[in-house]
């Protein structure tokens, strides 16, 4: 009964207080973003007419792609074998480099003098698209697969290094504390306290990165860093669109295969 008497009083006191508060800053931000989108559309001279014309071109281009042609099948095979090698090598060395960098960069394990340089390396590795990095390496070591491998190692360190660093920062410090309390040296704290807590996610990151490197390795070839990309680019330039489609279909098949392979690897490691 007393509750019924208290009810209106309590409600009366709270009138004017809204349970969900939206700030004016958030509203302002939304308006600014919308306004800029409209402005940018005008600047780039997009028009419905141009878009329709473009669709028309696209249709003709697609028509010339069919049926896909495998007349240069051996070119596709050698290109893909090289792409695959680039991807696997880059993933392997990229992950090997990422492990120590991530441990050094984890703020829950290391003091600031170690985390800053490690984080800087990872950020620099992520700063540029692999294609730009590949161009730099082509200038340094010449055309070919080596430039592709180096470019994708950089990309892998940027990606796996960052994710792995974050995974290490989320581990339970209680388990670390217990390993430390036994008088274990730092490296043993890492192998017995840190790695068991992140190994599952690390396997996930590696398979994902292998997948990404497989796709990226087809791309770095376009600028001359080896792999199937070179054949793809040549096909475009010679207007052999049916050959291009054959390559594109093969890329899709290989990426799908990579997906199955990574699922299989994850099952082996129970993650």
């Amino acid at each position: 009964m007393s509750g019924a008497r208290l009810g209106p009083t309590a409600r009366g006191k709270r009138s004017g207080i809204r349970p969900f508060h939206s700030s004016w800053q958030a509203k302002l931000l939304a308006i600014v973003v919308a306004a800029y989108a409209v402005y940018a559309l005008g600047q780039l001279e997009f028009s419905a007419e141009r878009f329709v014309k473009g669709l028309d071109n696209g249709a003709r281009f697609l028509a010339r792609m069919f049926p896909p042609s495998y007349r240069n099948g051996d070119q596709i095979v050698t290109g893909f074998v090289e792409s695959m090698q680039i991807a696997v090598l880059a993933t392997f060395f990229g992950v090997m480099l990422s492990l120590p960098i991530a441990v050094l960069g984890a703020r829950n394990l290391m003091p600031a003098w170690a985390t800053w340089p490690a984080r800087l390396i990872v950020t620099l590795c992520r700063a540029f698209n692999p294609v730009i990095v590949a161009i730099v390496f082509i200038k340094a070591v010449g055309f070919g697969a080596l430039a592709g491998v180096l470019a994708l190692i950089v990309a892998s360190v940027g990606f796996v290094g960052k994710l792995f660093m974050e995974a290490i920062e989320e581990i339970s410090m209680k388990q670390i504390e217990a390993v430390r309390a036994t008088g274990a040296p730092f490296l043993s704290v890492v192998t017995y306290g840190v790695l068991p807590q992140v190994i599952g996610r690390l396997v996930g990151f590696c398979t994902y990165q292998l997948d990404a490197n497989l796709r990226n390795s087809t791309m770095v070839g376009i600028v001359g860093a080896g792999g199937i990309g070179a054949a793809l680019f040549a096909g475009f330039q010679r207007f052999e669109y049916d050959f291009v489609l054959a390559i594109l279909i093969t890329i899709i098949a290989v990426v799908l295969l990579g997906e199955f392979a990574s699922n299989y690897v994850k099952r082996i490691f129970h993650v």
């Binding site: 339970s172 388990q175 008088g183 040296p185 043993s188 192998t191 599952g200």
Partner: protein
């Protein structure tokens, strides 16, 4: 009896000017189970963590078998930690490692990082581990992952891990707080008997006054960062408990 651990004027302030421990003096002999009681936030946990330097002291001295360990770092600190076993409230086992691997973690201070990584431990360590598994009644669990065990089983593994170090003192920070009453008694029995068997002192932080009375040879009562009672359980009166915990309603 020779003293194993002498604590003098120990002060800890996490924030300057707000000390959690205000000048603790305590001595621990070669044997016996000491229970440290006191309400939450009174610095029991800080005190026990300072002994193996999981927490650094602000002031004071900690003499462990002649080694002053309040200021040592690096290799020296690791060598002292090897000799101090620690049991945690939430067991702190490495969840994804097997029971055997968790036990051998207790030997990490003695094997090189490379050998540890390759799981190459001396034969006697592995034998010791199986002996301890036998003692804690988990012989069949050696290859199970730690996260598949129950709370009581985990805590027994935690104790075995500490004993793997062949420690010269055993510290336990609220080892029974996450366990049911029956399991709590079993854990206290294990701590007590292992202290006696190995001839080492056992220091236990504990909330449960009855458990403390039942198993301790000595009770240390703390309140507000100071020791206000230090003596055998028989001398611990209700007046002492009022002083340690404040109020008296909870005593009835």
């Amino acid at each position: 009896m020779a003293a194993v651990l002498n604590i003098r004027g120990l002060t800890k302030a996490y924030k300057p000017g707000m000390p959690v421990l205000k000048g603790i003096d305590l001595d621990f002999d070669e044997r016996g189970l000491t229970a440290i009681i006191g309400s939450s936030g009174t610095g029991k946990s800080t005190l026990i963590r300072i002994i193996n330097r999981l927490v650094n002291p602000t002031e004071g001295s900690i003499l462990f078998k002649g080694v002053e360990l309040s200021r040592i770092e690096g290799r020296q600190l690791r060598e002292v930690r090897r000799r101090i076993g620690m049991v945690f409230q939430e067991y702190n086992l490495v969840e994804r490692l097997s029971v055997m691997e968790n036990l051998l973690t207790g030997r990490l201070g003695y094997v090189s990082a490379l050998d540890a990584w390759r799981r190459k431990f001396p034969e006697e360590d592995v034998t010791h581990a199986y002996e301890l598994l036998d003692i804690i009644g988990l012989s069949d669990f050696a290859h199970q992952r730690a996260d598949s065990l129950s709370g009581g089983q985990r805590q027994r593994v935690g104790i075995a891990r500490a004993l793997m170090q062949r420690p010269e003192i055993l510290l336990a920070d609220e080892p029974t707080s996450s366990l049911d009453p029956k399991t709590s008694v079993e854990i206290m029995e294990l701590l007590k008997s292992q202290g006696v068997t190995n001839g080492i002192p056992v220091v236990v932080n504990i909330h449960d006054v009855e458990l403390a009375r039942r198993f301790a040879d000595r009770i240390v009562g703390m309140t507000g960062g100071r020791v206000v009672f230090d003596g055998p359980p028989a001398q611990l009166t209700d007046d002492h408990l009022k002083m340690i915990y404040g109020g008296e309603g909870w005593l009835q």
